[in-house]
């Protein structure tokens, strides 16, 4: 409840220093504002404390997207709150000023009508009725402690707060001073203005309803937060758009980096005119170019080394051949040394051949030369030639006339490598399989050896990985590149290679690869002279 001393129309100072009404009012009015500000400041502090956590939990994009609506919400809230407080204060001040002006005017009328201290009660009542009719406000005239109210049920002497009377008493030192106070009667807010008229020993009260002002403020209290919500939602949408637009270049960079990681080293980010972005774009492009150059240099080096090795190898190989023809002429020790030399020259030769093939893959110069191949004959012939004996080939029904589209030279190399691998580490090839699967064929090579431990099944396709058990073999003649070459051939075909347990028998490994290919059935088979015919013709 606030009590304030007002200023009479004459311009006299009403609020004197030390007056409790004025002194109490101001701080109490401000108190809620300070309290609210304090709470908000506290909330901000705790937000700052949590921001590290938020940064870790929320993506940059989410944070950017949230920044807009949150900032808007905070700003709009402050504005709305400020507006509400200011509006309420100024509206009330206006009302109070109006009410006081009105009360002074009417108080003047009361002096005229009631006249001197001897005025009749009837005249006072009539004056009260007239004032009430004209002004619309409830009035109350107290003359020497006697009250005159046209409508006592709505406004009577009991409604006047004690504090106001005290304030008036003190004010009565200076004649014509008004007191004003906000009260609540029957649940509705009102302003009571009291004017002390000591000359006629009378106090005049007027009651002004504030309900309409309250309603206006109430509806604003609803409407402004509503508007705040709408603006915040708009800001959220804008924030989302902004975050997406701002982070779009990041997406480009991510895709480019992924492409580079996937060996597409010619990937570059498109040039941009934005100065900040172009710095990143240039740095990224320079990095990829340097990487590409570095890799190209490594590839060239490997290729050059392999090429340079070929001429001496040629000489070694031919000379060993000459020596081997004369092995009988050599002593035992020399013959044994020659055998070692011959075996390692062979191995050296395969290694260089494999390295050359690999360096061609690394330089990206490899291209598929797809041919149609009669699968059944092809697999049987390659398996027979690689294994040096007939090998069981398991085909799907009708598979004997199946045509697949593959790079024949590469598939020959793949199969012969796998079959040689089976011979070296798996007790020899037991079966070659062909299965039709969705989008292509799956070709498998099974052996009856000890199998490959699960932990090594992926690593086994790495270069120079021969498996823990294979590495210990003294008689190992593999180059360590065979399986990785097979994997490269498979990759070039757009296929997939894996190692698993053999499908038959207790032990054994199965190396299988999937090649995407169009399959077809040869309908003119009777007209084809195939390898079996060629063999029987001889």
């Amino acid at each position: 409840m606030t009590t304030r001393a007002g200023t009479p129309p004459g311009g006299e100072t009403a609020a004197r220093p030390g007056e409790p009404a004025a002194g109490d009012g101001a701080p109490r009015d401000d108190a809620p504002t300070e309290g609210a500000a304090g709470t908000r400041a506290g909330a901000e502090t705790s937000t700052r404390g949590r921001s590290g956590l938020l940064r870790r939990r929320l993506s940059l994009r989410t944070r950017l997207a949230l920044l807009f609506p949150l900032a808007t919400l905070a700003l709009t809230s402050v504005l709305v709150f400020g507006t509400m407080v200011t509006l309420r204060a100024t509206e009330l001040a206006d009302r109070e000023a109006d009410a006081k002006a009105h009360a002074y005017r009417n108080a003047g009328l009361v002096i005229v009508r009631v006249g001197g201290p001897t005025a009749q009660a009837a005249a006072i009542g009539a004056a009260a009725d007239e004032l009430e009719r004209e002004g619309g406000e409830e009035v109350l005239i107290e003359v020497k402690g006697k009250e005159y109210s046209p409508n006592p049920s709505r406004f009577n002497a009991d409604d006047v707060p004690l504090a106001m009377r005290q304030s008036l008493q003190r004010a009565s030192v200076v004649p014509g001073t008004a007191a004003i106070q906000r009260v609540e009667l029957g649940g509705d807010p009102f302003l009571i203005v009291g004017v002390d008229l000591p000359s006629i020993n009378t106090t005049y009260f007027e009651l002004t309803p504030l309900a309409d002002l309250q309603r206006t403020l109430d509806s604003m209290a609803l409407a402004l937060p509503g508007a705040t919500a709408v603006i915040t939602i708009l800001a959220a949408l804008l924030g989302r758009w902004f975050a997406r637009a701002a982070l779009a270049p990041l997406g480009d960079i991510r895709r480019a980096a992924a492409a580079v990681a996937a060996q597409r080293l010619d990937t570059r980010l498109p040039a941009t005119t934005d100065p900040e972005l172009s710095a990143i774009v240039d740095a990224f492009n320079d990095m990829v170019a340097a990487l590409q150059e570095r890799i190209a240099r490594d590839v060239r080096f490997a290729s050059d080394v392999s090429h340079e090795l070929r001429s001496p190898l040629m000489t070694l190989s031919a000379s060993v051949d000459v020596l081997q023809r004369r092995r009988d002429e050599l002593g035992d020790r020399a013959a044994a040394a020659l055998d070692l030399l011959a075996a390692d020259v062979d191995r050296f030769q395969s290694l260089v051949a494999d390295l050359l093939e690999i360096s061609r893959f690394d330089s990206g110069a490899q291209q598929l030369e797809i041919e149609e191949v009669l699968a059944a004959d092809f697999l049987a012939a390659v398996a027979r030639q690689s294994a040096g004996r007939a090998v069981e080939v398991r085909l799907p029904s009708g598979g004997d006339r199946l045509i697949i589209n593959v790079d024949k030279r590469r598939v020959v190399q793949m199969l012969s490598n796998l079959i040689e691998n089976a011979a070296k580490y798996g007790d020899g090839v037991r079966m070659v399989t062909l299965d039709l699967v969705d989008g292509g064929v799956e070709i498998g090579v099974e052996d009856g050896g000890p199998g490959v431990p699960e932990a090594e099944r992926e690593l086994i396709f790495d270069r120079f990985a021969r498996g823990a058990s294979a590495g210990r073999r003294g008689s190992d003649t593999g180059t360590g590149l065979g399986l990785s070459l097979v994997a490269e051939h498979v990759r070039l075909h757009g296929g997939r290679i894996w190692c698993e347990a053999a499908t038959t028998g207790d032990t054994g490994a199965r190396f299988a690869f999937f090649l995407p290919t169009v399959v077809d059935y040869d309908l003119e088979s009777n007209e084809v002279i195939d390898m079996s015919a060629a063999t029987s013709a001889r």
């Binding site: 040629m314 190989s317 030769q349 012939a381 007209e527 002279i529």
Partner: protein, 226 residues
Amino acid sequence: MGTRILTVEDDERIRASVKMALEDEGWEVAESENGELALETFSRSPTDIVLIDIMLPGIDGFEVCRSIRKVSDVPIIMVTARNDTHDVVAGLEAGADDYLTKPFAPKELSARIRALLRRVRSSDHGVTQLRFADLEIIPEEGVVTVGGEQVHLTKTEFRLLVELATSPGRVFSREVLLERVWGYGYFGDGRLVDVHIRRLRTKVEADPANPRHVVTVRGLGYKLQA
């Protein structure tokens, strides 16, 4: 007189060791360190097989091959650094009958040489004369005529044509032709067949782009028809 082989190779040690390995097979070997000397040697003395390294100082292997092909149908083996399509096909287009990729085993070289010698000398087809409209083949005499006029085929082209002619109308897969003409089978290079067929067509077909006799059967191989 035995078989005489001319090797063209600029690396002295390779030349010496390969010469010894080939001599161990019982062949006589003449060697040249560059293309100019090779052509000179070739024109001076009879040669049964030529082995040419593509990478030569001065005139390169392709050029040596083309020069020899202009005057002779002697079997030529090219030695390439890589088995890239470019080098292989260029070598075959220059007139080579077969190719090897460095480093090769001497045994592989001997096998190639023997295959080329064998097929040049064998004529045991039991077919005396074949006629396909305007195309006539007389295997015994090694003669092919088109419209009555004799055309000149290399020994490999001739052998390829005769193989196709043994079963006219039937399709020969590349593998069968590789096996029968080059002695390779499935591990051979189909490009050998394709390039030789192309060369054959330029000689026996009126319109090589739209062949009438030596026909491609898509995905399966080739066949000869009238």
